[in-house]
């Protein structure tokens, strides 16, 4: 068969049509995502000498600096801690909501609840973060409110311009991200499985622990990742409510790129942040997979 | 309802040696088949046997690797589905949910040279034909399963295709509706006189509706005959097993002086006619098959019309109008099922009773394969 004819036949086959259809989008992602990600990885091995010039040759200088300088180490550790904490809080707070909407709400009202939960997510992120500053500030809503009620005499100061404020604000911003995957996983659970468990003699609590929770595990895992990965790179929240003690790695990346004009070091920090997140996520996925009973527990419907 | 085989008209569709692979999977293995003008033809087989693939090949939705598909003496290779004189009733009915019933039925008339009024009249006539007169303005998504099916039929028939293809059209309906639609489909087919090709996995449905049936296994046609021949003279044990229930007993076969003799375990020796061994008469070990209704339990005082053999009742299954007895003939290690119509005044017999069983050599089918 001639090559032209073979190609022609391939692009009429299911595989060929599928590839052809996906190619514009895939190409776009390749050019605007893959190429830049590779570029940032490459640049992290260079050193800046001038405004737009790099020293020829590759080196690990930036990595040495990023890993040994206590400032970067502190920012990285703080970012990890903040995202870890935010993830924990968001998922713990979200699970009961997802459970309530899936099991406690009439089917015809479910989409309304989900809609209500997702709406705040679609409103300006910047404004929402800024409003937390207004709420948590020295003369803020919370303090003036508590003072008016007489619960406190002096305004609370530990809630703004520090890590606490960053955690609260991020936990608020990412709430719907955590609820949705858990809700979807809970919705997929065949209700007769729960009845079967009760029928086989388990209590409500034990049914929840032995049936519902394991089957919801994939949703929880997804929720954890979908919150953990983006929060570590958050820029706006630490900048607006974090104060100097609440800054995170994204703020340093921005500083390196736009202020200090040290793109290679900024790139190194970005690469390191992604690497650490990737490693933690993979470890978590493996652990989650094991916790869910490995391959044997393919629970729920597809 | 019984349907006598009608004389097949001139071949409208003829397939010869059609081959189809999906990767390594051999979906159609050399299908050769002729379907006549005005015939109600069924493709019957278990899921995955290639019957739907074959139907979709005729419709033009599937390419085939080799062979020819002819419709009205025209080679269909390279002719897309929208240019073929076939129309299809899909398993899901594929009623366009954004259109009304009438718009659905008139969908295929878009490019026809008819005037708007004529198209409307044609669509309404088609709706009337399927018993949905006055439903034209209903929203399609508000219809019941049976109504959707009627719309699908009207939509296909309004184009006056040479062949109507039906892909498991009754599988989504409940039993009562299904039986009603079977009768209606037969009437409709007689009325319009178009060739119908039905894909089904339900042997009863195929027997009831078809002029001829092709039984398919693993991409091959195992037997293609009219329902009665298929039921009475299945060409292989597999076909026999797929269509209805058949008992099998081991037998020794020999030819003697032009006579075909079989010695059946528990029943004795009998002579069989040439058409009773459709896959050829074996020499030596083979088996015989017989349907449960060809055997009769003899009550006190009854005389066998042909031959009789003693047996012991091992299991009784009561079905209301029928009783199934599993009996064991003397010297045989497996049971044989007998179905008896329950007649007023005739008792159902008990397990353990010794009975005489009447059987007829003419009802036997001889197979080469042992049992």
């Amino acid at each position: 068969m001639r090559i032209g004819e073979r190609l022609h036949q391939f692009f009429r086959s299911e595989k060929g049509v599928g590839l052809l259809l996906v190619s514009p989008t895939a190409l776009y992602a390749l050019l605007l995502l893959a190429v830049p990600l590779i570029a940032i990885f490459a640049i992290s091995f260079l050193t800046q000498t001038g405004v737009r010039d790099f020293e020829p040759g590759l080196s690990l200088v930036n990595y040495r600096e990023a890993l040994t300088d206590p400032l970067y180490r502190q920012l990285m550790l703080r970012s990890l801690m903040v995202s870890g904490l935010v993830t924990l809080i968001t998922v713990l707070l979200a699970f009961p909501i997802a459970y309530f909407v899936s099991f406690g709400v009439k089917p015809e009202h479910k989409s309304l609840w989900i809609f209500l939960i997702t709406i705040p997510f679609w409103t300006s992120y910047l404004i929402r973060v800024f409003l937390w500053k207004v709420i948590l500030g020295y003369n803020g809503v919370l303090n003036s409110g508590l003072q008016a009620v007489g619960l406190i005499d002096e305004p609370l100061t530990f809630i703004l311009y520090n890590v606490n404020a960053v955690v609260i604000t991020l936990a608020h911003a990412y709430a719907p991200f955590a609820i949705l995957p858990i809700f979807v996983a809970l919705e997929k659970i065949d209700r007769s499985l729960l009845e079967a468990s009760r029928d086989l003699g388990e209590s409500r609590t034990m049914t929840f622990l032995r049936v519902t929770l394991p089957l919801a595990a994939p949703g929880v895992v997804a929720a954890v990742l979908i919150v953990f990965i983006p929060t570590i790179g958050d820029y706006v929240t630490p900048r607006l409510v974090g104060g100097p003690g609440g800054l995170m790695i994204a703020n340093m990346i921005q500083t390196q790129f736009l202020r200090l004009n040290n793109a290679p070091l900024g790139a190194t920090l970005a690469v390191l942040a992604m690497l650490i997140v990737a490693v933690i996520s993979i470890l978590f996925l493996i652990l989650g997979h094991r916790a869910a009973g490995g391959g044997k527990a393919n629970g729920g419907r597809k | 309802m019984t349907i006598k085989k009608r004389p097949a008209g001139p071949a409208l569709i003829s397939l010869s040696n059609v081959q189809k692979h999906y990767g390594d999977y051999h979906a159609l293995r050399g299908i050769t088949l002729e379907i006549g003008q005005g015939e109600f033809f069924s493709l019957l087989g278990p899921s995955g046997c290639g019957k739907t693939t074959l139907l979709r090949t005729i419709a033009g939705f599937e390419d085939y690797d080799s062979g020819t598909v002819m419709i009205s003496e025209r080679d269909m290779r390279g002719v897309p589905a929208n240019k073929r004189p076939t129309n299809m009733v899909f398993q899901s009915y594929a009623i366009f949910p954004h259109l009304t019933v009438l718009e659905n039925v008139a969908f295929g008339l878009r490019k026809s040279p008819m005037s708007k009024a004529e198209k409307r009249a044609a669509a309404e006539a088609a709706l009337e034909m399927v018993g949905l007169k006055g439903y034209g303005h209903r929203a399609a998504h508000a219809l019941s399963g049976g109504q959707r099916q009627r719309v699908a039929l009207a939509r296909a028939l309004v184009l006056k295709p040479k062949v109507l293809l039906l892909d498991e059209p009754l599988s989504a309906l409940d039993r009562k509706m299904r039986e009603q639609m079977q009768v209606e489909l037969i009437k409709l087919q007689r009325e319009v006189g178009i060739t119908f090709i039905l894909v089904t996995h339900d042997q009863e449905e195929a027997l009831v509706m078809s002029d001829r049936i092709a039984v398919m296994f693993e991409g091959e046609i195992a037997q293609c005959d009219d329902p009665e021949v298929l039921y009475r003279r299945p060409k292989s044990k597999r076909v026999a097993d797929f269509i209805g229930v058949m008992n099998f007993l081991p037998a020794t076969c020999r030819e003697e002086g032009g006579k075909r003799l079989v010695s059946v375990a528990g029943l004795g020796e009998a002579e069989v006619a040439a058409d009773q061994s459709p896959e050829g008469f074996p020499q030596g070990a083979g088996s015989v098959g017989f349907r449960p209704e060809t055997l009769t339990l003899l009550y006190e005082g009854q005389v066998a019309s042909h031959r009789e053999a003693p047996a012991v009742i091992e299991e009784v299954v009561y079905y209301g109008d029928m009783t199934y007895y599993d009996v064991r003939f003397e010297g045989v290690d497996k049971t044989v099922r007998i179905s008896m119509r329950n007649i007023f005044g005739r008792d159902v017999l008990d397990v353990g009773a010794t009975v005489r069983v009447s059987w007829s050599p003419g009802a036997l089918v001889v197979f080469k394969e042992g049992s």
């Binding site: 595989k15 | 939705f61 929208n82």
Partner: protein
């Protein structure tokens, strides 16, 4: 379930608290954003009219959001169709990569695009923001469109061929009308995301700020804060409106396809 319901309502209050505060301060005559409230005023809204720089930023944002929404939806239609209708080699990997911006921190997308653009000697501007926004909106568009295409019975298109239509006219007469609600929904969601997005715009916008970038710069001036509240109120109302319309279309699409609504975009 009762205590769970109480908890759920409290949770909603927590989710909505910041948003409910917005109009309170937007219509409050005090220049300090704090309780107690003073008098009712619409002064801050009229002040918005005088901020000509903001008007430029708004126009710039609208231009970027419309273009990104259209591009993301077109790319989304291709990918969603490919993913739901066909199976092709490397499908999981390719689709996973296209969906990656959904979880990737935006700052990573922003700096990596910035590096490539500067290295290649181009200047940043509205076009580079559009490029970035299209990238991050596409996964959302795909998520919406995928469910629109998946709820479509593939035999509908076959039925149209069977009744004499060509693949192109079958797409136009059957597929397009049925996925149209999904397309509109994807357009609106992408538009909303682009209008709100800050980081990528912050890095890639060049000399013409987008509305969020301008808003961010406003936050540094205490006397502009009441106007920020007013602007925020308008933005939130518009977002909620757009999302409600998008949800309406998504549901209508599901209803048309004869499906039971299961709720939620993602």
């Amino acid at each position: 379930m009762k205590s769970l319901k109480a908890y759920a309502i409290l949770y909603l209050v927590f989710l909505y608290a910041p948003i409910f505060l917005l109009p309170l301060f937007a219509f409050n005559s005090s220049t300090i954003i704090a309780f107690p409230l003073e008098n009712f005023t619409t002064e801050w809204f009229t002040q918005l009219l005088t901020l000509t720089e903001m008007h430029g930023a708004l126009l710039n944002s609208l231009k970027i959001a419309v273009t990104s929404a259209v591009l993301a939806t077109v790319l989304g239609v291709f990918a969603a169709m490919a993913a739901t209708r066909y199976s092709f080699p490397g499908q999981k990997g390719i689709m996973g990569f296209i969906m990656l911006p959904l979880v990737l921190p935006e700052i990573i997308v922003a700096v990596s695009l910035l590096i490539v653009i500067l290295r290649m000697g181009f200047d940043t501007g509205a076009w580079s923001v559009i490029a970035g926004h299209t990238l991050i909106c596409t996964p959302f568009a795909i998520a919406i469109l995928q469910s629109a295409f998946a709820s479509l019975d593939p035999s509908l298109e076959e039925a149209a061929y069977d009744l004499g239509e060509t693949p192109a006219s079958a797409f136009r007469l059957v597929t397009l009308p049925l996925v149209m609600p999904g397309i509109i929904s994807a357009l609106l969601i992408s538009f909303t995301i682009s209008m709100d997005e800050f980081i990528i715009a912050f890095f890639l916008t060049g000399s013409d700020p987008t509305l969020p970038v301008y808003l961010f710069s406003m936050l540094r001036f205490p006397k502009l804060l009441p106007a920020v509240m007013a602007l925020g109120t308008i933005l939130v109302v518009l977002s909620v409106l757009l999302i409600t319309i998008a949800e309406f279309f998504r549901r209508r699409g599901a209803k048309r396809a004869g499906l039971k609504d299961t709720g939620g975009f993602l």
